[in-house]
Symmetry: C2
Subunit: 446 residues, 2 copies
């Protein structure tokens, strides 16, 4: 449908804000992006970021607006996990079918590139401009040096809140009656570390793998960057026997890595320096509803649905919001009230589903990897999926290598879980697990 | 244990704030209560309040500080429900055993009395003083005419946030990392209406009853006041066929009451006037954790755990917080860090339990009262409880007429529910329900 040009503000110049600005600019709107932080192109990265895993949903959203190829240049495909298990040689686990891969990208590198592309498209950025208040019914925002200082008012037709998990736009909506909201932190934190490139610029570990050192309640991961380095992330409980709290000195940090990550300790650059310099960050699931206010204000990405990173879908989900929004805008033209209502109704169940899937992955990784019954179940599922790839698509593939709604992936996962519950109750399943009987049982339950 | 006198601020002069001020003052502390609103003793009531039902937990908390008798003077005991069901003559349902009753009190009348009592005890009140910010680690609060205007700083040893469901103190805590928080609104709103006294000052309906007009998705209740009037509350969905949204004119309001509440329509004073003058209020469940910050700040009452009013336990739960806090203070003396840690660990599961029980009561009332199977189950439970009062204490009694922890009441309710699930699966239960067989079945499952 026909679209009239609107004067639109986007709060937040992160990944979602900058991609949305490109989409809307290309539809003919006037776009101003506000960010309270300085231009990320002029500052050092924060040392608190997990590398991104771009998968199908993300690529689809970039393709739609013609920038997929540009972004592929700064991404590295990972077609497998590299498992570094104690007491075993390193081994690989392929992610999906041939050609299926997730792509590792540095958040900072991607963000810089997206802002470049948005500027090229004609988007105006106002960095270092702090939004302190938003008048929702008037779509007016107020900026200033400080919360108590003088403010400047800007009026728009529409405001998008792409200002992340701790969104001020949502915060304003939250103070209204009948706004549902939750924030749930997990007891595990994370810390960024780094493995530099070899002197010739090559990678120190296999560059087409997602490297994992699983250690029960904690784990280390490493994802490659195009400059030959790896960004590592250590996930570990805040408190407890082996925890961030329990590592207070350089000696403790060195001994911790020597004990648990001996095959990579030497590769990690300035290990103890970074360990104490880089912050320990928290992870949170944020849910809210509604996501929009009349035809004036909408939340997109983490501001509407922050999730824990254990499915690698946070950015993908935010990009998919934008892709979905475009289809809805094309259908409803200038009727932004209907656009926003349709958008939130369509996306909310999917956001809830990926939040649940991500949280479950966290629970699996942190508490079930030592559970023999759970591991056996996974083995049975894997065997069946290999025998009947058309009948049993693993949850990971449905989320990562498909564009079908997250809510469907969750529902199918629940259905598979029900089947496996029955299978696991078969007598003597421990020895029967790779038998025809088990295969037939699953077939009969499908 | 010995207690040193502290300089303590309480934010909020509502029921919980004023009772806490009396407790702490009597322990020898210096107490200042701040409230952004004017002194409730000098203003008209708001027209948005549901009458309170004081039950065992509330009375215990008042007794502990020696003001039970004073408050009983402004309360009316209700030992039964008066059911106004369409197509049936009005009938009574006794609440508990002889002598067991809940007590109806007007929120405004009670609040005024509590502030009088607190002042008599030596508590200082600062009304019309708006707290805009709290420095948690310093226990400093900032007040001023407006958020952007000049602020005055007050430093205390300890600050209590008793500022209700939309607490500013909690709000300040919420912006910190690792603070779990949720607010969930229900789709039903409420509106206050009033039945005035007869000319001779007597009540127009039975004064020792909690009057209920259940109508499926909506209902009217009436609770007596000591001046001969009743405070009525209409609970109804915000949107839908029969809803607040669907009643827009005086004619629609009159016809609504004529259709659904014919036996009380004439009694309700200025029906259509109040219907449109009084606000339609929302109801919310709020959960959060932690409730305290170091040894400096603690949340008490609704600010920590707002619940929907369908169990009549909101005030009782808040008062019980204070009762529990006193036991903990007496044990740990001046160690406010331990006091606060113990307080939140002990009270949080109980607050979660009464939130769940209250929400379930809402669900039962709004969606299950038309479910024949559910009603049959309730009949079976009632019969069994009458036959074996020592073996089956109904959930309502455990919550209302006991001081055992809410979490226990919830757990026992869940256990009873499991038993009833099996009972309801007995063949031909519809005709067998009052048989020995069913009674023996329950006995065998206990």
């Amino acid at each position: 449908m026909k679209q009239s040009s609107r004067n639109i503000a986007i709060i937040g110049s992160g990944l979602v804000g900058s991609l949305l600005s490109i989409y809307l600019k290309k539809m003919g709107h006037t776009i101003t992006v506000f960010d309270r932080r300085p231009d990320i192109r002029n500052v050092e990265f924060s040392g608190r970021s997990i590398n991104l895993a771009m998968s199908n949903r993300g690529w689809q959203s970039l393709r739609e607006v013609g920038i997929e190829d540009e972004i592929k240049k700064i991404a590295i495909p990972l077609d497998k996990r590299a498992m570094h298990v104690i007491g075993k040689p390193m081994y690989f686990q392929k992610y999906g079918k041939d050609g299926e891969a997730i792509w590792s990208i540095s958040r900072g590198v991607l963000n810089r590139k997206m802002i470049d592309l948005a500027e090229e498209a004609g988007v105006e950025f106002r960095f270092n401009e702090k939004v302190w208040n938003v008048d929702l019914p008037e779509a007016t925002l107020y900026t200033g040096e400080s919360e108590k200082g003088e403010w400047k008012a800007y009026n728009y037709d529409i405001i998008f809140g792409c200002d992340g998990a701790f969104s001020r736009v949502r915060h304003k909506m939250q103070r209204r009656s009948r706004f549902d909201y939750s924030q749930d932190f997990i007891d595990v934190g994370y810390k960024e570390l780094s493995i530099p490139a070899n002197e010739d610029g090559s990678h120190k570990l296999d560059k087409n793998s997602f490297h994992i050192w699983p250690r029960g309640t904690f784990m280390l991961i490493a994802m490659p960057n195009i400059d030959g380095s790896f960004t590592c992330t250590l996930f570990m409980p805040f408190e407890g026997e082996v925890s961030f709290e329990s590592i207070k000195t350089k000696e403790q940090a060195t001994s911790f890595f020597k004990t648990y990550f001996p095959n990579v300790r030497k590769e990690i650059e300035n290990l103890t320096g970074d360990f104490f310099k880089n912050p320990t960050s928290a992870m949170v699931t944020i849910k809210c509803y509604p996501w929009t206010y009349w035809d004036k204000v909408a939340l997109v990405g983490d501001s509407a649905h922050a999730i824990v990173p254990f499915y690698g879908q946070g950015m993908n989900a935010g990009f998919e919001d934008i892709f979905a929004l475009k289809q809805i805008i094309e259908k409803h033209g200038d009727d932004w009230g209907t656009i926003f209502e349709t958008y939130q109704k369509e996306r909310k169940p999917n956001a809830d589903a990926i939040a649940e899937l991500s949280y479950r992955n966290f629970m699996e990784m942190s508490s079930k990897t030592a559970d023999a019954k759970f591991l056996l179940q996974k083995k049975i599922e894997k065997r069946f999926a290999e025998l009947h790839p058309d009948k049993w698509i693993p949850a990971y593939s449905r989320v990562t290598f498909s564009n079908k709604p997250y809510a469907e992936a969750l529902a199918m996962g629940d259905a598979q879980e029900e089947i496996m519950k029955e299978v696991m109750q078969m007598p003597d399943i421990e020895s029967l697990w790779d038998s025809d009987e088990v295969e037939q049982k699953i077939l009969s339950l499908l």
